[in-house]
């Protein structure tokens, strides 16, 4: 057998397992009405509501564009941070993670499939937001698709790392959803996830200035509202990377496959 043939024989099952697990994750996600509603539909509903409330200009563009950008940010945090954290806690505490460990599915394949599945959900959500905005409020499609995709990938990665770290800090399935939303909703509010924060008191804006979502929304604003490349925002990228790396370190150090409550 040639080296190439051996490599294919080794790699194919890995790819097959990855595709199998990605399909499993998608099936599990969409089959759960709560997940599909709170993670996928809820940000769309909020956009429809908030889009009808805001009117006027923000940074020289119609404010509804900014509302759309904010909700892309909220959607990202909601899906990659909150949704992932809650799902991970539930699966750990229900014993699914432990059960999967005794199958031939490699741990890395499981994690990557879960992350890609989460990214897929968020990608569809972002697409739905832009389509809704176009239909309801006449918002334009992004001019620099490449930069927008890169932005969404960077944000998703940072929030997924933070979501995983948060999941490992939560001890029980009961109340995990409340705990995560206790972090998510104020963060979204303070970071401009629910619309521009220009009218907020200085104290609230100061708190918002340390939150990762603030910088992600800034990044989306720059790319979507003004057509800048994502690389033109080094401050936002740096802060997001800092949060992401901190989340990753905590996630890797504290990762647990087995239920905490025994």
């Amino acid at each position: 057998m040639s080296a190439e043939a051996i490599r294919l024989a080794v790699r194919r099952p890995a790819r097959r397992l990855f595709v199998h697990q990605l399909r499993t994750e998608q099936l599990v996600f969409w089959r759960s009405r709560e997940a599909a509603f709170f993670i996928f539909i809820f940000p769309l509903l909020l956009f429809v509501l908030l889009g009808s409330v805001y009117d006027g200009k923000f940074q020289h563009v119609p404010v509804r564009w900014a509302v759309l950008a904010g909700l892309v940010g909220y959607g990202c945090a909601n899906t990659s941070f909150a949704g992932l954290a809650i799902q991970l806690v539930l699966r750990r505490e229900s014993g699914v993670l432990k059960r999967l460990r005794s199958t031939p599915l490699p741990s890395a394949t499981y994690i990557v499939a879960l992350l890609v599945s989460t990214l897929l959900v968020f990608g569809l959500q972002a697409l739905a937001l832009f389509l809704l905005g176009r239909v309801l409020y006449g918002t334009p499609f992004p001019s620099d698709i490449g930069s927008l995709v890169a932005t969404l990938l960077i944000g998703s990665a940072a929030f997924a790392a933070l979501g995983t770290a948060t999941a490992m800090a939560i001890r029980s399935a009961e109340g995990s959803s409340a705990a995560v939303n206790f972090v998510l909703l104020p963060m979204a509010f303070l970071s401009g996830g629910f619309g521009p924060t220009t009218g907020y008191p200085a104290v609230l804006r100061a708190i918002g200035d340390v939150l990762p979502l603030t910088y992600f929304v800034k990044l989306v604003n720059a790319v979507y509202l003004h057509g800048h490349g994502f690389w033109t925002q080094p401050e936002a990228l740096l802060v997001l990377a800092g949060w992401g790396v901190a989340g990753l370190v905590l996630a890797v150090r504290n990762f647990e496959w087995e239920p905490r409550e025994r």
């Binding site: 099952p13 397992l17 199998h20 499993t24 099936l27 599990v28 089959r31 759960s32 009405r33 229900s94 014993g95 699914v96 432990k98 059960r99 460990r101 005794s102 199958t103 031939p104 599915l105 087995e258």
Partner: protein
């Protein structure tokens, strides 16, 4: 080749020594029961063999692998039923089996396995709609779908009603006829007695007795002979029931008496088990 070889196995959690030097061997095709009260170290032992925990000391071979550092096919060849797992509540029985089948190189036919565990009428039912007993069957089904050589069953019938237990026992017996090696942990005596070729009794992290259920009951305790004489109950314990009984009955026949309420009772596994684990039971109560 032995399916499982364990010697000098030790595991502590902090100051608590859960397993304190355990040795046993399980042959291929054998159903081996690990019996003991809660906290005896059964689950710790099994989870070390499954690869979930690292041992502190001792030698362990499972299907020729060291479970701390198993080869790539180790997980292809084992099937695990954990004490509790919830799986995905919104998927169906068939979907769940198909997902697990997809993890293995050469899985069994999904519908065949569903029939084997008796869930054929629930194929399209969501997992959350299943009863406790049916969920346990699902656990067994997904443990068998990869066609393992060795199956770990950790307290497979805890919390079952009697009918569900009987049904589970039938399934476990069918594993033996498939030629699987089974390691069963339980704190139910009748379960160990009914299902196992050999039983190891664990107590406080040690195996205190190993043997067939029949071995355990014949070697340990004396046979009891009971009868009534002049209205009083008489109880004799003996290692030589045949001789004692012959003397007793021939004397009675010679006197023309009937031995009222004559009973000869071999100790049950329960008696042996209670004798072996008595101290601990006292400590707990």
């Amino acid at each position: 080749m032995h399916a499982i070889e364990v010697s000098g196995l030790r595991k502590a959690y902090g100051n608590l020594e859960a397993v304190r030097g355990v040795d046993f061997t399980i042959e291929e095709g054998e159903v081996f029961g690990l019996l003991g009260p809660n906290g005896a170290g059964k689950t710790t032992t099994v989870e070390i063999l499954e690869g979930y925990r690292r041992r502190d000391a001792g030698e362990v071979r499972v299907l020729g692998h060291d479970p701390d550092d198993p080869g790539p096919d180790f997980r292809e060849r084992i099937g695990v039923v954990l004490q509790s797992s919830e799986l995905w509540p919104n998927l169906t029985v068939r979907e769940t089996h198909a997902i697990f089948a997809g993890y293995y190189h050469a899985p069994r036919d999904v519908d065949e396995v569903i029939t084997l565990v008796g869930l054929e009428e629930k194929t399209g039912a969501r997992v959350k709609s299943l009863s406790g007993g049916q969920k346990r069957r699902l656990d067994l089904g997904i443990a068998l779908v990869g066609d393992p050589d060795l199956v770990f069953l950790d307290e497979p019938t805890t919390g079952f009603d009697p009918a569900a237990r009987r049904a589970a026992w039938e399934m476990i017996r069918s594993l033996r006829s498939l030629g699987k090696t089974v390691l069963l942990t339980t704190h139910y005596l009748d379960e160990a007695e009914q299902l196992s070729d050999r039983v190891a009794v664990m107590r406080e992290g040690l195996i205190v007795r190993v043997g067939t259920p029949a071995d355990l009951t014949t070697t340990d305790l004396q046979t009891e002979i009971r009868y009534r004489r002049n209205g009083e109950d008489v109880l004799l314990r003996t290692d030589e029931p045949t001789r004692v009984l012959a003397e007793l009955t021939s004397a009675a026949v010679a006197r023309g008496e009937e031995l009222e309420g004559l009973q000869v009772r071999r100790p049950s596994l329960e008696d042996v088990y209670l004798a072996l684990t008595a101290d601990e039971a006292e400590v707990e109560s």
